[in-house]
């Protein structure tokens, strides 16, 4: 009974958060839909995404048993889109988490330790952020090889500066707050102030940034695949599908539009969620969309 009422109140709070926050509701709904698609992807695939059938090459959208058509090898596009969704979202989320942990750690350390560690971390962050990341990613992947893991690691280790910068700025401003001062005066240790008072205060901002960053990582991941160095050739990823489609622009425009629109949907969903979270947690968010 208590559990039920607690859940009810949580649901009520959630719905209150959504009221008047179109971005949060729309983004959340889209993300939930995408998560469902990822979880049930194996069940929803009508065909093996890698199975080619040369008799069914380049079937148009609406073909029998291939509702989104087939590609140049007769592979089912809907199944390949689903496989690509799993690949891209897991890669984007993993890379974002790596960036988040490195960035939050360095940002908090810089805020907590004035003097040379702070100078060093800030300098490191500023220089990495000023460098074209894709160039480094291309060079590194060329050496360490293609595939899901090399790509996730490369993107994750290149993407942390934005998190570090924001964590540092937020943590520094939180340290000026009176509740932190009062905790310090009561003799709470520096470590537990940092983890118990500062880190939770930074979380809402980081949450919104995580959503935006997932979108950026997904774009970076498909761009690398599109360039032919992210996913192994022929793997069912959206970047590969876009790259392969270029030889069939005239005969099969759906080969471009299916993965292209898929990327747009996921990126828009993540951006909506990010905007909604920003508005939810901060008074001074971006101007409402509608």
């Amino acid at each position: 009974m208590i559990l039920l009422s607690r859940q009810l109140s949580r649901a009520r709070r959630l719905s209150a958060a959504g009221r008047g926050n179109t971005e949060l509701v729309a983004g959340g709904a889209l993300i939930l839909l995408l998560i469902t698609l990822v979880v049930f992807a194996p069940l929803l695939m009508a065909h093996d995404p890698a199975a080619s059938n040369l008799r069914n090459r380049l079937l148009a959208i609406g073909a029998e048993s291939h509702w989104l058509g087939t590609d140049q090898l007769g592979r089912d596009i809907w199944s390949r889109l689903l496989a690509g969704l799993v690949w891209s979202t897991t890669a984007a989320i993993s890379a974002t988490l790596i960036s988040l942990f490195i960035g939050a750690f360095l940002g908090l350390s810089a805020a907590a330790s004035p003097g040379w560690p702070r100078t060093l971390i800030r300098w490191f962050t500023d220089t990495v952020i000023a460098f074209p990341g894709l160039i480094v990613a291309v060079c590194v992947i060329a050496i360490i090889g293609q595939g899901w893991l090399p790509m996730v690691l490369t993107l994750g280790f290149l993407g942390w500066p934005v998190f570090a910068r924001v964590t540092y700025a937020e943590a520094l401003s939180l340290m000026e707050r009176s509740y932190v001062t009062s905790a310090r005066l009561q003799g709470v240790s520096r470590g537990s102030i940092l983890l118990g008072h500062i880190a939770p205060g930074v979380m809402p901002t980081l949450l919104a940034m995580t959503a935006f960053n997932c979108a950026d990582m997904l774009i970076a991941e498909s761009a690398l695949s599109f360039l032919g160095i992210g996913a192994p050739l022929g793997a069912p990823t959206w970047g590969n599908m876009l790259a392969e489609s270029r030889q069939y622009l005239l005969r099969a425009p759906w080969l471009v539009f299916a993965p292209g629109i898929a990327i747009v949907v996921v990126v828009v969903a993540a951006n909506l969620l990010g905007d909604g979270l920003t508005r939810r947690y901060r008074q001074k968010g971006p101007a409402p969309l509608l």
Binding site: F131, P132, G228, V268
Partner: protein, 320 residues
């Protein structure tokens, strides 16, 4: 410290020197990373010689690059060669890597400058308009469209434009670099990397500026809204916005790798993709160094020019 007047540098010079040192440190770190990654992940002689090299070729490469020496000696040799701008020869073409880079540089410069011009021409008026008319219905539609456009990655936008403008309508060539008609699609594609984001930033900046005290004061003194807008609010808002475009140059260079590869433009990015695909490491290193120098130069030139345009920044230290 005794301050001897003659040896005291201006704050600008100090900031510039500091930036240069930081840049050299970053470049050194990047090249060190590439050096050790190349050696950790496999036999560089095999990589340098190519997949189908014979035993003698591998031995020749080992001798040529000093790969039989200890690692630390190799590393120092490598760094000293780079400092002398000696990048070696391209393994694919046999030409000096520096020549290949200098040939590709104008192509990339042309593409990024054209894209930058288009971005400014679209973002400034659109962003200013959206910032001024906060509550119009047409502005709300525009900002929804900008939000959706922000969800379209540049290369996807480029593919959609190729499909529409060159395949369906047949107006523009879909690949290659030649006359003016071949410039349009690559420029638009690269511009689409930045336009939605910058439009949003500029519109927020303009609307923020319009809420500033000095705007309210000017209006209270009876200045016409039009005069306040053109004389005070827009110059202030747009100055910062243009500085922001300069800081996005690194992102634009990343985008140019994709755009050049898409449209087969033989610029730095296209060369980089070609040389990584063929594992032409001398060329990869030369390209990485030059791209880094290019980004550094542009970032700091825009920084410097805004120091002179904006009196508030003059004589200030490093701008963060």
């Amino acid at each position: 410290m005794k301050g001897d007047r003659r040896y005291r540098l201006s704050p600008l010079a100090v900031a510039g020197l500091r930036k240069l040192l930081e840049f050299l440190a970053l470049l050194g770190a990047l090249l060190t990373l590439l050096f050790f990654l190349l050696r950790v992940t496999g036999d560089p002689a095999l990589v340098l010689a190519g997949a189908d090299a014979t035993e003698e070729q591998i031995a020749a490469i080992e001798a040529q690059y000093g790969l039989d020496k200890p690692l630390i000696v190799q590393y120092l040799n490598y760094l000293s060669a780079l400092i002398r701008f000696d990048f070696g020869t391209s393994l694919e073409s046999g030409r000096p890597a520096l020549d290949v880079v200098l040939e590709a540089l104008p192509v990339t410069l042309q593409l990024t400058i054209m894209a930058m011009a288009v971005t400014i021409a679209v973002c400034l008026p659109l962003g200013a308009w959206m910032g001024i008319y906060q509550n119009r219905a047409s502005r709300r539609v525009a900002s929804l469209l900008v939000f959706l456009a922000q969800g379209v990655p540049g290369f996807v936008a480029g593919l959609f434009m190729i499909q529409l403008l060159s395949v369906q309508l047949g107006w523009l060539p879909s690949i290659g670099r030649g006359g003016v008609e071949t410039w349009i699609l690559p420029t638009l594609t690269l511009a689409s990397f930045l336009i939605p984001k910058l439009t949003r930033v500029i519109s927020t900046r303009v609307s923020e500026t319009l809420g500033k005290d000095y705007v309210r004061t000017a209006l209270a003194y009876g200045a016409s809204p039009r005069a306040v807008l053109w004389r005070h609010a827009l110059p202030n808002a747009l100055l910062g916005a243009v500085a922001l475009i300069g800081s996005q140059f690194a992102y634009l260079v990343s985008g140019s790798v994709i755009v050049e590869t898409m449209f087969a433009w033989p610029g730095l990015g296209w060369q980089l993709m070609q040389s990584t695909r063929t594992l032409d490491f001398p060329l990869v290193q030369a390209l990485a160094v030059f791209i880094a120098i290019l980004v550094f130069a542009v970032n700091n030139l825009t920084d410097l020019s805004f120091r002179f345009l904006d009196p508030r920044l003059r004589d200030s230290g490093v701008r963060r």
